[in-house]
Amino acid sequence: MPNSNSRILLVSFNVAGHDSLALGYVKAYALKDPTISRKTHIEILNLSHEEGDVRQALYYISDYRPQLIGLSCYCWNMQRMLELARSVKQIMPKVPIVAGGPEIGPVADRYLARHPALDIGIHDEGEAVFSDLIKYYLAGKGELAAIDGISFRSGDTVVKNPDRTPIKNLDEIPSPYLTGILIPRDGVTYIQSFRGCPFRCGFCYEAGRHKGLRFFSYERVQAEIELIMGNPHIRSFHFVDSVFNLNARHLKKITHILGSNNRHGTRLRTIEVFAEHLDAEAVANLVDAGVQSIETGPQTAVPETQKRIGRYFDEEKFARAVRLLREAGIEVWCDLIVGLPGDNFFLCAYSVAFIMNLKPAHIVMSILHVLPGTPLFEQADTFGLAFDPEPPHYVVANDTFPFEQIYECVLFSSAVTKEYNMASA
């Protein structure tokens, strides 16, 4: 156990049973620094979003007594994180609290201005920034004003530093799996092969981030896959890539690695694909790789709405892909969003009917969250988008979709998709 001056705690509220991959990366990157790894002990606290409690986290914190706390913030857990930060400040007022993650990043300075319990907000990716913060807080190195990619409190004001250039070569971030920080477990293990997204969908925070894609090397991805697929107790795992079939070359490479390492019949579940790009060959690649289920859009089947949210949609190619996947025995999960600008109750009902017609295995409906940093968040006025400024930022209305209809559409879509998803295997 390191000495009592060097304890760092990273906290996340996740879907029950899951570990935070993001915090795994943050810890792995920090420990790469010999000084940090020698002088600090970094702990990750994963709590269940559904069943976990702020006071559980507080109990852990009061027992562990960290010198620095990092919070992994998403729209669905932000309220809990704020409650936790406020409570921590009551019992440990001097412990700095750093908030990162997609809920904070684009509006870090605004969060700090409104929530005095937060000391630092990280603008974007946390790995390099958090390492600098550890050095600053625990070794007294440098000054906050010189750390790019953060907003911080200076007296009564909030200072927003310039953004930091993201890590170009992702292999600079050690693998949390290969370093033993995260232990692969059945059904809850996630791999990332690249960061970024080639698309600019209005509702997605990936669209608002830096352009361009950055990759982990195939050697690195292969090593992670070998570790995971070599474990016969892991029956299935996932990828978090924004588009699994990014392009034909990438798909072939990744599926080849998967196929050639699959000695125990491990399945790949719920990977995100861009359906319109799938042809018979790509589907065959997915089958060879052991893909059990895929998740895809179209979010709406209405061309005018697709245009408004900056999404490409080709009805025929989409329908063909769903058919090819179905015929190949791969479960297709189609996603639809209620509350998009351009839609209304009846257009949404059309999208549901359109998707049902394609006979996917499941239909997943969700309500629009107008997330900070997304194109819809930035262009809210253009679309008359009214939404809760507090997380999870549910849409309230837009210029084509009045609130009563959004409310009714949520009831309607929950009911009809429940009936649809009753399908016997």
Binding site: L347, M356, Y420, A423, S424
Partner: protein, 288 residues
């Protein structure tokens, strides 16, 4: 929203509903006949079993198995719910693959319900059926989960009873309330108002509801709940001239038979008509 292929079991029923449109002298269907009906379906993915009361048919379980073998994924039982009072019956049906139930109710008290069913104690048995469904819903694992639609027959005898019915059915946690106009003696405007109010109450309590048989011109403000609009069928011609000016004319059967035209007024515009056009186009392409 989902379309079901219908398999008709014949008229045998343990209720004698005043509003039933099944011919009592129709012949019961043998299992072989039912199997032939299933085999004749071009797409048996969604199948609705109706009667009469299909749960009284001794071949029901065999037919459900047959539908599953033929590719049936969603099998819906239209029932008065009385046989479902027996937990064993429900469990057997669910295990066989029937997981969607549409249960008819005509009142919130024995007097109102049985004025339609004309069978004493049928109300208690139907409620017991809802109770069994509700208990199953709260206990079932995902692969044995069920979906329950309450089919509320709206008649002149129970129109005052709709709100108590909504309240009663919500206590059983049903997934959907379906208000269906039945019988020709119901004053249609009064019925429409009562249904619209009942649907508002259901919506407020986060239960989805639909109506059937009430033209859009008398359901202003409830358009999102009209089956005729969400699942459009086309109704060409044979309507009063005044209906031709109505924006909903292609989707509406016109004033129900037996009613004068006084209650019905053509609707000039509907701001969400583009969505209805999309739905109509989809229905037409499906039919092709």
């Amino acid at each position: 929203m989902l379309s079901y292929e219908k398999i008709y079991f014949g008229p045998a029923c343990n209720n004698r509903c005043t509003v039933c449109d099944v011919l009592a002298d129709d012949t019961p269907r043998s299992l072989n006949e039912l199997v032939r009906q299933v085999d004749a379906l071009s797409d048996p993915e969604n199948v609705e079993l109706s009667g009469g009361e299909p749960s009284l048919h001794e071949g029901l379980l065999s037919l459900i198995s047959h539908i599953r073998r033929r590719g049936g994924k969603r099998i819906k039982l239209r029932t008065n719910g009385r046989t479902l009072a027996d937990r064993g019956v429900l469990q057997t049906l669910v295990r066989e693959g029937c997981r969607i139930f549409e249960v008819s109710l005509f009142g919130a008290s024995p007097n109102t319900h049985e004025a339609v069913t004309r069978v004493r104690a049928s109300f208690d048995e139907t409620l017991k059926g809802f109770e069994t469904l509700s208990a199953h819903s709260s206990m079932a694992e995902a692969d044995e989960s069920i979906y329950v639609i309450a089919r509320i027959g709206v008649t002149d005898e129970n129109v005052e009873d709709l709100l108590p019915m909504v309240s009663l059915l919500m206590s059983y946690g049903v997934d959907v309330l379906r208000f269906v106009r039945m019988g020709s003696r119901l004053p249609v405007r009064q019925g429409a108002q009562a249904v619209a109010t009942a649907m508002k109450v259901a919506t407020l309590n986060r239960v989805w509801s639909l109506s059937e048989g009430f033209p859009p011109c008398i359901m202003k403000g409830s358009e999102c709940h009209l089956t005729e609009l969400i699942q459009p069928q086309t109704f060409p011609g044979n309507k009063p001239k005044s209906c031709n000016k109505c924006v909903f004319s292609p989707l509406c059967a016109g004033p129900p038979e037996g009613y004068g035209q006084r209650d019905f007024r053509a609707v000039a515009t509907f701001p969400y008509f583009r969505g209805l056009e999309y739905l109509m186009e989809l229905t037409a392409s499906r039919a092709k």
